[in-house]
Amino acid sequence: MNLVNFKHDTDADGILTLVWDMPGKPMNVLDQSLMNELDAIVDHVIADAAIKGVVLTSGKDAFCAGADLTMMEGAGKEFAAAVKARGQEAAMKEFMAQAGAGSRVFRRIETCGKPWAAAINGVALGGGFEITLACHYRVIADNAKAQVGLPEVKVGLFPGAGGTQRIPRLMATPDALQFLFKGESWKPAKAKQMNLVHEVAPEGEIVARAKAWIKGGGKAVAPWDEKNFKMPSGKIFSPIGMMVWPPANAIYRKETYDNYPAVKAILKCVYEGLQLPIDQALTVETRYFAQIMRSKEAAAMIRSLFLSMGELNKGARRPKSEPKTTLKKIGVIGAGFMGAGIAYVTAMAGAEVVLVDRDQAAADKGKAHSDALISARVAKGRATAEQKEALLARITPTADYGDLKGCDLVVEAVFEDRGVKAETTKKAQAVLGADIVFASNTSTLPITSLATEAQKPENFIGIHFFSPVDKMMLVEIIMGERTGDKALATALDFVRLIKKTPIVVNDTRGFFANRCVGRYVAEGHLMLMEGVPPAMIENVARMAGMPVGPLSLNDEVAIDLSWKIVQATKKDLGEQAVDPAQEKLIKTMVVDHERFGRKNGKGFYDYPQGGKKKLWPGLSTLAGKALDPDTIDVEELKQRFLVVQAVEAARTMAEGVVTDPREADVGSILGFGFAPFTGGAISYIDFMGTKAFVELCDRLTAKYGDRFVPPALLRDMAKTGETFYAKFAPKKAA
């Protein structure tokens, strides 16, 4: 055999060992060339009487991380083109053949009549795990990196190469559904316990063990091809089935709000497939896979959550001319909640941190935050006592700016006051000089004007973290008018160091994320004043795909802060910048009722001691009117929540605040949880179609006001149906 993707060798016992090792690729992936080669291998194995069995292992560090997602992202578009060329039915048949290619060749492995054993040496994910499920025996290496899983749902797909059929034939249905729903990866011990692998062995022995199984008479028949095979949970229409399925359907909705068609397809595949013999079951799976591959949710999620996020993480926006920086020691000035969080994530990334505050006690308190966070990890078994010691040793709390000496970057997170910030900049530069890159973690003050306090404004930049810093994955990098490439490159290198995702935005009031999310919260306020029942506002927001209702979110951020922002907005932008209904609501809450949010136990919700929060009953009287819920158009409420944010995101692009749609999309999902299944605030528009979106904006403007008016740019784009991703086509990362 002449093979490209595999090294191979047949031993004296007639066992063919295939070492999967795709040339020129860091990882093994499933693509068309691989399928073709596997097909030929199976033919050969069947034909060659000397071959008694096959061991499949990998020559890479990982076994295989799955299919090539770049290929899958364009599936819907390719299909549309094929329909145009060859008609619906012919195109669909072709597409299904393509979608089922992996499943078919895996099934050929399973039924070829000779035993196959997989020796899993490292990570086996997605299709890379499904191929082993089609082998008759699985040995996994007992090492730290090995794990198996089917993470496809995380990008809007599902395991379509037998995963939805073989998994529930290996374990009880509730366990199988949970494994498939969550897309979790399991380590060897858990995989063995859950019947996903047959044997766990030291890495050096896995191939030998696999061979031993074959030599010991390993059967070339999958359990489900045995005549007397029984499903682990029995028949669906049985007392056990009645306990499993109705709650499974309910929990799907509870977890997804029915926004994730791939997860629903898993349920359908398992339900329908478990009532069929395996071959027909695999056909059912392929049908659903072909449907989900063409879904806009899959295309949107693959693009934003996998491709774009990966590109941004790898520095898509980094000026290539700038040499790589070394960031070994970072100064963090201001040891409050934000500064303490920044110190923690920086030290976690292995860098030294000098944590400066007015006095030693304040600086120590900031370090204590790291102690608390890492101690919690130790308690949960996620970190060791040694790791904790080392982490804390990297943080030096001090009141002396002189200790900043030797820092490669300074991040300032002091009080949001121009005077305080200016003084900080001066003191730091007095120690470090004018060439140090100085970053301000401000959320409200313009970077351009703060930069004037720096000796070299080109070295001044904004790095805007979200709270809580250790959990929120997004960082906004703010370019002042004079910020230079060195500052940008340094800031991006820093964000990469701490393993967060950066978006680069130009200096403007509220930057990107806070502008959009502010619209979201305001829409909730306005609905409340229209007389929409408060619970409906909160529930429908989550049904639209948002992680937290606008009233809950406002309670977390604090309503008195909203009141300050309302006043500042009016002062800066004029009276018309704030909706009087919103202003009245916030004023009533803060001034009349002293309801500031969770922080004083009274906000849009009441927070009883030790009990669950409950909407404040007084809310219904604030509007002065109550709509009959049966007359409210829930779909329109959902649209309002998403459109009001998306149109703001479109404005940021029209204004040049955000220049790359990938950043708006990824930023909207990571920064404020914009409905992930849409691919983000800009993809939401693109997938709806700019024309349809503008029409929707016009309709909402007529009913609810000017906040829905689309920018002129979008109106122009709508004329030709141009998308943001076409107009602002991002340069692909090298």
Binding site: N249, R253, K264
Partner: protein, 402 residues
């Protein structure tokens, strides 16, 4: 169109639907055949005149499967020529059986037919038939399936009925049922279940708790909290009715219909068929209809179908003297009272399924007999019988005395 008249009605007593219930030893077949036999014997019915036997039965597996109506008619001695058909519209099956029999007569195709129903809930468990709706994701997800108990709690939450409201209603049902039995209001209809030697096995409804009070009911834990919270159904309810912040679980065994065994049968015929048999009509089937209602909240069908039937007949709610609204759950009846603002005294005056039980396939037929007996006792004219139904439906029938 011919008129359809009710000539007679019988029902068995309702036995507690558990293995210690008196009717547990009586098969579904013997329950149904017993009711049919009683109807035949006490009317000295010439079964040659009977064109069809229609029986409602909801869970039709094992002994209740494969057309229990035909087998029951054969065993009851109706003769080979009397056919039978079993129907299933869940909780309204018994009423629909009466309506189907009436429709056969009204259309002129049949002269005399029997409508009734049977359910041995102690022997054939509720839900044992299975079914796609709750199970198949293609059906359950888009229709927001939830178990009836959660739907009943959702009705209470959405329409504002407190735990005290539903408990107070349940106590009233118990009081009315006890009073009715004391006064012998069901004597005309209830026919005891006897063994092969003619010895009585049960002659009264044994599910009743006449001594129930607010305090004793308050000690009962809500039945559907676990299902709602851990089974995910509260979330389903809230996504369908997002104006609701949290489901108020108020229903329990004491304010929901009882699980019981029982059977019922009504003799329906044209005027001519009655004359031929020498029988006197007791009431006329004035009108009936069915409707589909929102399936998730499921149990609001009585309101929708009553509106439809009133519109169809040109009647107003005030034209009805007496209502039988099946007490599947207390909130179902409270919602009916709220929607039509009718005098509670006119609704279920003899108690209902909370006190006496709800043998699924038979209840609808039993309610017709209860309404008829009560109209005769009080000298009133018109009654409306309605039931809520699984998967979101409603059936209603108006009868009037002749």
């Amino acid at each position: 169109m011919a008129d359809a008249f009710i000539y007679d009605a019988v029902r068995t007593p309702r036995g507690r639907g558990k293995s210690d219930g008196s009717l547990h030893e009586v098969s579904t077949l013997q329950l149904a055949a017993g009711a049919l036999r009683a109807l035949k014997d006490r009317n000295e019915l010439d079964t040659k005149l009977v064109d069809d036997v229609i029986l409602g039965c909801v869970d039709t597996v094992g002994e209740s499967g494969s057309d229990i109506a035909r087998v029951s008619a054969l065993v009851a001695g109706y003769g080979n020529h009397v056919p039978g058909v079993q129907i299933n519209r869940f909780c309204a099956s018994g009423l629909d059986a009466v309506n189907f029999a009436s429709a056969q007569v009204m259309s002129g195709q049949h002269d005399m037919a029997i409508g009734g129903g049977v359910e041995s809930m102690s022997r054939v468990g509720m839900g044992s038939e299975g079914g796609a709706w709750p199970v198949d994701p293609s059906a359950a997800i888009p229709t927001y399936f939830m178990p009836q108990g959660v739907s009943a709690d959702l009705i209470a939450t959405k329409y504002g009925f407190s735990r005290d409201d539903v408990d107070a209603y349940a106590i009233e049902s118990q009081k009315r049922a006890a009073q009715s039995w004391k006064e012998g209001r069901f004597a005309k209809t209830v026919t005891p279940v006897r063994d092969i030697n003619g010895v009585t096995i049960l002659d009264h409804d044994e599910h009743m708790r006449p001594d129930a009070n607010m305090q004793s009911l308050a000690s009962l834990k809500p039945s559907f909290i676990m299902m709602g919270e851990q089974g995910g159904f509260d979330a389903v309810a809230i996504q369908r009715y997002p104006e609701v912040e949290a489901i108020n679980h108020v229903h329990h065994a004491g304010n929901s219909s009882g699980i019981v065994d029982g059977a019922a049968a009504l003799l329906i015929g044209s005027a001519e068929a009655g004359q031929k048999s020498g029988l006197k009509p007791r009431a006329r089937i004035k009108a009936f209809c069915n409707i589909g209602s929102e399936p998730a909240i499921m149990l609001t069908g009585p309101v929708d179908v009553t509106k439809k039937l009133l519109a169809k007949t040109g009647m107003s709610i005030n034209d009805i003297d007496l209502f039988e609204v099946n007490e599947a759950f207390a909130s179902v009846v409270l919602r009916f009272l709220q929607a039509f603002d009718v005098d509670p005294a006119k609704v279920n005056p003899c108690g209902g399924a909370i006190a006496m039980g709800h043998p699924l396939g038979a209840t609808g037929a039993m309610l017709v007999s209860t309404a008829l007996d009560e109209l005769e006792r009080t000298g009133k004219q018109t009654a409306l019988i309605t039931l809520c139904i699984g998967a979101g439906m409603g059936t209603a029938t108006i009868i009037e005395r002749v």
